[in-house]
């Protein structure tokens, strides 16, 4: 990872700002911003100006956050994040005020959510971890319960706020990674994963849910790349986002072509939603609690960690694919054959289900609920 000039940060020279990655981030995001369609040309230009200003400030915010030479990146990262997110919120709010489209409103909401999450995360660092987990569970429980489809607009806003607080609390529980670049990339990807996952289950329109799920898939692919699973990261994007999700969208267009239906706006009732939120948050909270208890000895006691036989062909090593191919077509060869048979059987099954269908029943009104028996 000579690209990132890790040592340069430590001895006080500009370091990260002089790396190709930094400029790629700035230019890429600025260019993307210019490409986004939002209203008329002057509005777009203004939005591009505001957004570009925000993004540039995001990376120049290090001096603003009091980043001195002897302070490492990791220590100043929270301050930096808050400074950058404040600027981003202001920029997006300016864009929302000056443009007609909904894009800036959405961006402003997203930036504000992240800002609240960052503030909550920093504030929570003073609280002891068990209390933090309890607070996380409580906030996310209330947030999800208020955010289900069928809730009123004000309830959903409160749910959004509480979910943002919960996100910040969860983030404050995660230990630092040590590697600054990995820390920043992981933070961004994990935040996007969390936000888009919640958006997937809370969007009323199923098409929007599917598109938010595509965002989840892309960022999960990024996380897998960061984890050193290059093949799986690419396979997730190609297979999931490229094939499975498109099939979902096709079925959606076949089955629900005339707009929003009543069952996207209601759920199973308040009690059921509450119980579901409790179940989900208990799982997240319990897993988080166990994870924080985890230390090196306990994890090593489960399975003896041994150095890989060949340093080059370990996961994420120099010859990643060589090792992976060896493992896949060596030890797991029978499983590969079985997976091939399974895929063929699924293909035949999916075709036969739709071929064997009888005459269709006459169309009923999709917008009306089923009558109670």
């Amino acid at each position: 990872m000579t690209l990132f000039a890790q040592s340069a940060i430590a001895d006080g020279s500009p370091g990260f700002t002089h790396t190709p990655l930094f400029w790629a981030l700035i230019l890429g995001s600025f260019g993307l911003w210019l490409l986004l369609p939002a209203g008329a040309t002057p509005v777009r230009a203004l939005g591009a100006l505001a957004g570009g200003f925000g993004l540039v400030m995001l990376f120049l915010a290090a001096p603003l956050a009091g980043w001195s030479a002897d302070e490492t990146w990791s220590e100043s990262a929270p301050k930096l994040a808050v400074a950058a997110l404040s600027l981003l919120t202001i920029a997006a709010a300016l864009g929302a005020a000056f443009s007609r489209g909904k894009l800036f409103v959405v961006l402003a909401i997203c930036a504000a959510v992240l800002w609240i999450a960052a503030l909550a995360g920093i504030a929570a660092l003073e609280v002891s971890p068990p209390l933090r987990i309890i607070l996380t569970i409580a906030f996310s429980l209330a947030g999800v319960a208020l955010y289900f489809p069928g809730a009123r607009r004000r309830q959903r806003a409160v749910g959004l706020l509480l979910s943002a607080l919960a996100l910040g609390l969860v983030a404050s529980l995660a230990p630092g990674l040590g590697d600054d670049v990995e820390q920043v990339l992981f933070g961004v990807l994990a935040t996007v994963v969390a936000v888009s996952a919640v958006a997937t289950i809370s969007m009323r329109s199923p098409v929007y849910a599917a598109i938010w799920f595509a965002v989840t898939l892309l960022t999960t692919g990024g996380l897998l790349l960061l984890e050193g699973a290059a093949f799986l990261g690419v396979a997730t994007v190609v297979v999931y986002a490229g094939a499975i999700l498109v099939t979902f969208l096709f079925v959606l267009m076949l089955a629900q072509p005339e707009g929003h239906a009543y069952y996207d706006r209601i759920s199973w009732g308040t009690y059921a939603v509450f119980v579901a939120a409790i179940a989900g948050m208990a799982i997240i909270g319990g897993l988080t609690y166990r994870l924080m208890e985890l230390d090196g000895t306990a994890a090593a006691a489960v399975v003896e960690r041994q150095p890989p036989a060949n340093e080059e062909t370990r996961p994420g090593g120099e010859k990643h694919m060589v090792g992976m191919g060896g493992a896949l077509f060596g030890r797991h060869l029978i499983a590969v054959e079985a997976a091939g048979v399974l895929l063929l059987a699924a293909l035949v099954g999916a075709a036969s289900i739709n071929l064997a269908r009888k005459e269709e029943t006459p169309a009923t009104n999709n917008r009306q609920p089923a009558t109670a028996p």
Partner: protein, 150 residues
């Protein structure tokens, strides 16, 4: 220590994806969105498995994720075919329509209150027309209309 911190971080994300997917599966009533939530839970498991594989430095986690992707593809094919078949029976994607399959003696679920559709949600969002509309000569248009009638 760095390895352990990475493991904890990725497991946290995996737990989050799994939990959110679970809540979505239970809460939503659109069959396709429920299916999306199942896929999201699988993603959470995949992230956790790869994190454990990286921690232990072996290939088991990644191998399992490869097979998860293969099985998920099969599952999507079969599941979507079934959803289409169900849709042709009921003309809706509401999973509550199939509550006759519930256990005997259980009370039926009846919607108490169905909120009104807001006016801006009655149609799908429309795309902004791109490019310039070509100027068509009136006589040309008339001739084309004639042709299509024939």
């Amino acid at each position: 220590m760095n390895d352990l911190a990475a493991l904890q971080n990725y497991l946290l994300v995996g737990a989050l994806l799994f939990g959110v997917g679970l809540v979505g599966f239970v809460v939503r009533r659109n069959m396709i969105v429920m299916f999306l939530c199942v896929e999201m839970m699988l993603q959470g498991v995949a992230v956790s498995l790869v994190a454990w594989g990286r921690f232990h430095g072996d290939w088991g986690g990644q191998m399992l994720v490869i097979f998860i992707i293969a099985v998920a593809a099969c599952e999507a094919a079969i599941g979507l075919a079934l959803i289409l078949a169900l849709y042709h029976q009921s003309k809706r994607l509401d999973v509550a329509f199939w509550q006759d399959l519930r256990e005997e003696g259980q009370p039926a679920f009846v919607d108490r209150r169905i909120p009104e559709t807001p006016a801006d949600e009655r149609v799908w969002p429309r795309l902004t027309p791109a490019g310039i509309e070509p100027a068509i000569d009136e006589r040309e248009r008339e001739r084309r209309r004639h042709r299509t009638r024939v």
